[in-house]
């Protein structure tokens, strides 16, 4: 096989094996598909981020003076839809999971490479539908699509937005399907379940949610579209339907969807904390069980989004109680990461800084979640900025921090180049500071009673100072997010070549060259060691330049 790389005399990698647009768009190599995903989710991240900045700018002053009310409603709707369905949910699984899972378990590829490519195309079809929606005037249902507002009262592009999410949902399902089968069927000899990196465990748990939750969202969106087209009445109270049924079905997916976002992040943090503490994870078994526990119990709590929606008093109590059950495995994870650092040999490279940030922000996000699970307090703070702050602590403070940490940790493996460490640390710091400045004031705003999705708060000017702080933080955050993109791109051309194992980390992915060859392993590896065998790795993390 004469490949492009061989002709130029370089070592053949997945990047230089073939060139040309076709070799990318028709690839079935999980690593190339991961990069396709990386490019597309980055695009959507910046689209969603742009909407967020406009929202924050509008809220700088109490009056609605930057955009019109309808425009504002579209901005927060599309910010939510783009970020949730086109960034947060696919980001870690489809980019890092796709790239790393086969390598981590010693496989040449995912079980179904063509389905993997199909799932990217579905994502793109969904994404194009979403872009079509945005460019044609947008949609203003709120990302939650609450009926009967979305079905009977709005005349924006609800149907295309619904279809976009429907199609993207199937992309997510196929990714999950591939991961589950791959984890079961493609492990190398010796790679037992108890030797799997926690990153793989986390994706396995995530896949369960994707597989069993997403279809319910899909059918719910089908019903919303049918309602809009034919006015059947299933969610319309004036035709005998129950709008709360929509909320039940929607949150049955959309609450566990939060765990789709955060569990892979937890997997990343486990890898990073172990590597930069030079230690085996504290309580491997509990960590693996905890992600599974979160995935299962996470399905039992959805109606805590509906405590004031008009559900039965008794159902509310059950869901409140169950919500606390899901907090226990989350608490275990935080304590175990902390304990992993105990008596370690810790260095503060960029990925570790993100991991520190994740632990802190996830702790705060999780603890404020307990406020929301508590019925009496939830009545006051639900649908206010308290909720907005809480879920941004989990999704941005948790998931995005972990995603960036992971991107820095594995960037040398993915690209074969080192990023500039100093800039990396600066960006991590900016993200952390900017994030807290943006979202901490929103907790206070929420308890003060500022409802979410308000375009104009001129009736309550007392909310302004906190909003100004939040907007100031958002600009810092924006710089923090732009920096990595710039220096990652820079490093692709100017970065130092990365060695196979720049961090002296444990795990199969570090035993193959950077960037990996097309089929990952020339020979099928046989695993004879436990995960995070840092006791067998004599070298420390090389000192940063």
């Amino acid at each position: 096989m004469a490949t492009a790389a061989v002709e130029t005399g370089e070592r053949e990698t997945y990047l230089n094996r073939e060139y040309g647009i076709k070799s990318w768009l028709l690839t079935v190599d999980h690593k190339r598909i991961a990069l396709l995903y990386l490019m597309s989710i980055t695009l959507f991240f910046f689209i969603g981020g742009f909407f967020a900045l406009l929202i924050r700018l509008e809220l700088l002053t109490p009056a609605g003076d930057l955009v019109q009310a309808d425009t504002y409603n579209k901005l927060f709707t599309m910010h939510g839809q783009v970020m949730v369905f086109f960034f947060l949910i696919p980001a870690v699984p489809a980019v890092l999971g796709n790239f790393l899972i086969p390598i981590m378990i010693g496989a040449k590829d995912l079980a179904f490479p063509r389905i993997n490519l199909l799932s990217w195309y579905l994502y793109i079809i969904g994404g194009v539908l979403m872009l079509y929606t945005i460019l044609n005037g947008g949609v203003d249902t709120g990302w939650t699509f609450y009926t009967p507002l979305s079905t009977e009262f709005l005349n924006t592009h609800v149907i295309t937005a619904g279809l976009a999410i429907f199609v993207a949902g199937f992309s997510s399902i196929l990714t999950g399907l591939n991961f589950v089968v791959t984890t079961h069927r493609m492990r190398a000899p010796g790679m037992t379940w108890s030797r799997l990196p926690l990153f793989v465990w986390a994706h396995y748990a995530t896949s369960i949610i994707q597989l069993l939750g997403t279809p319910v969202l899909a059918i719910t969106l089908v019903l919303v579209v049918c309602e809009r087209l034919f006015h059947l009445g299933i969610f319309n109270p004036t035709l005998g339907g129950d709008p709360l049924l929509f909320q039940h079905l929607f949150w049955f997916y959309s609450h566990p969807a939060v765990y789709i976002m955060i569990l892979p992040g937890m997997g990343i943090v486990s890898e990073i904390v172990c590597c930069f503490s030079r230690k085996r994870i504290f309580g491997y078994q509990a960590m693996a069980l905890a992600v599974l526990g979160i995935a299962v119990v996470g399905f039992l709590v959805w109606a805590h989004h509906m405590f004031v929606a008009g559900i039965s008093l008794y159902a509310a109590m059950i869901f409140s109680l169950l919500s606390y059950f899901v907090a226990v495995p989350s608490a275990i994870k935080v304590f175990n990461w902390t304990s992993t650092m105990y008596k370690g040999s810790i260095t503060y490279q960029t990925p570790m800084l993100y991991a520190f940030g994740f632990i802190g922000l996830f702790t705060m996000g999780g603890l404020t979640g307990l406020f929301l699970a508590s019925l009496g307090v939830d009545v006051h703070v639900t649908d206010t900025y308290f909720v907005v702050a809480h879920f941004h602590y989990i999704m941005v403070g948790g998931m995005v921090m972990a995603y960036l940490g992971g991107m820095h940790f594995w960037w040398p493996k993915i690209s074969g180049k080192m990023y500039p460490e100093g800039w990396g640390r600066l960006a991590a710091l900016l993200v952390f500071v900017g994030f807290n400045l943006t979202f901490f004031p929103q907790f206070i705003l929420g308890y003060l009673g500022m409802p979410r999705r308000y375009w104009d708060y001129s009736h309550s000017p007392e909310f302004q100072i906190l909003n100004v702080l939040s907007t100031a933080g958002a600009t810092v955050l924006a710089v923090g997010y732009l920096l990595p993109m710039i220096y990652f791109l820079w490093s692709m051309r100017y970065g130092k070549p990365a060695p196979a194992n720049p961090w002296n980390a444990a795990g199969l992915e570090w035993m193959i060259p950077s960037p990996p060859p097309t089929f990952n392993f020339d020979l099928e590896p046989v695993v004879t060691w436990e995960a995070y065998n840092y006791d067998q790795i004599k070298e420390e993390v090389p000192v940063a330049q």
Binding site: G310, I359, G360, D383, D535
Partner: protein, 326 residues
Amino acid sequence: MFQTMPLWPVRASTTANSVDALYIFLVVVSALMSAAIFTMVVYFAIRYRRQQGRRAEQIEGSHALEITWSVIPFCVFMVFFGWGANIYFKERKPPQDSAEVYTVAKQWMWKFEHMEGQREINELHVPLGRDVKMIMTSQDVIHSFYVPAFRIKQDVLPGRYTVAWFRPTKPGTYHLFCAEYCGTSHSGMVGSVVVMEPKDYEAWMGGGGSQPLAVTGQQLFTQLGCVTCHRQDAQGRGPNLVGIYNKPVLLEDGRTVIADENYIRESILQPAAKIVNGYKPIMPTFQGQISDEQLNALVAYVKSLSQSSGQTGGKSMAAATAQPQM
């Protein structure tokens, strides 16, 4: 330009006191928990930073420790749950003698109607120290009745009643927000709740020359011909409505339901849905034929039929102001 920046919302209802107490408890416990975690992370990060000649000590984990830090937080969580559930339970159960305000929400305004017949838009006047029960419905989409100073919030749904209640403890004017996104002018669907000293309230109330809601309902009851079947004796073709409010009703299919506002409402709009035992489903439907305001008046009238027998019907604010304060 900047007004003062409050860090704590006004506390103006009995519920606000209990919610704040729990909230402060939660803040303190969470602060302690996160302080413990942050201290450990920072301490370990510094204490066990990489040093020449020292290597990481491998520790497998400890089930004892893991169980400890699962069980202890879980017990704390159960306190959160129990305390919060207790508050919620009270929030969802309006006291028997509450004054009642019928509320119709629509894009994008709040319409209130007092038992005395006063109507208000986006402004609600209530007397200090009186339990007030909001009986709410929506004409279009889902809204949410939210008064931060009272720490109460309840979604307002089309097609049914939802209920919220509060007892104001501090005179003043407080924000009323719609907290559920309801379309273009969601952020314009705001108003205020004015809590007045009982004397001022009576003066305000005396200003209007409207007729009580139940009387309006009674007139409708006659006009619409309800009275021909729902007679106040056992001879009517429809059930006698005297004294039924909040009482169990035996249905023809053997089920028993409580005749609350939602049941009365449903029985007017869809009479065939829950037929009282021993009666024929002959009543015509009033769905789409009466407005939400008329429906409220009818419900208020039917409930007023239960007052004489010592039941709680639609109590008015005026009746309230005469009562002893808190």
